[in-house]
Amino acid sequence: MALLREADRENLRKELAQLQTPVRLVFFTQALDCEYCGLTKQVLEEIVGLSDKVQLKEYNFAIDKDAVAQYKIARVPAIAVTRVEAPKLLVTGNEQPRERDFGIRYYGVPAGFEFAALIGDILDVSAGESGLAEQSKTALKQLRDPLHLQVFTTPT
């Protein structure tokens, strides 16, 4: 059964039609001991089904240790939202797209408010544009040390 209602699906399809640069949802799951992995996957599959600019890549948290380390994944279900950029210079014609990871992660089922936030992130990551005020951007660009933000929410 679909999670999204038909009207929501249509609105989302229109919203995602703005995407120019493709986005990859890198999904970490595991077969056992993960109450919310199945539901998360279903949500992601519905999103990916609405746009050919949104890709889904799945890794197993228990098995794919290299990917877990590369994306610094702490727990499952997890989603990394990355940008799939075209190679800057085409020399041989065989250059592969480059994945740009801004460090954006979702832990848990993206439902309710978090679903809207995930869609917003897909649009922002694709555009490479945070939508923040110029003053905020300036302040953030001056940062010289790592900043790890964890935003706790509940589904509403």
């Binding site: 922002d124 923040l132 940062l143 964890q150």
Partner: protein, 65 residues
């Protein structure tokens, strides 16, 4: 914010699905933002105030204006 600086990483965590983590960070209200495991910013607020509180909390130098 993570888009603006490569040094910034941002996790959204569904608190109810990770009760142990929510306990460890003493999440009693949402949204709660924890920066570098130490600075806590509770509730929603205007963007510039939020960024100011985070940067001051982690001891980053902030340009006055």
């Amino acid at each position: 914010m993570a888009i603006e600086n490569e040094l910034i990483t941002a996790d959204a965590v569904e608190a109810s699905e990770y009760p142990e983590l929510a306990d460890a960070y003493q999440v009693y209200g949402v949204p709660l933002t924890v920066a570098n495991d130490k600075t806590r910013v509770e509730g929603g607020m205007p963007e510039q105030l939020f960024i100011q509180q985070i940067l001051q909390g982690i001891g980053a130098s902030v340009a006055e204006n």
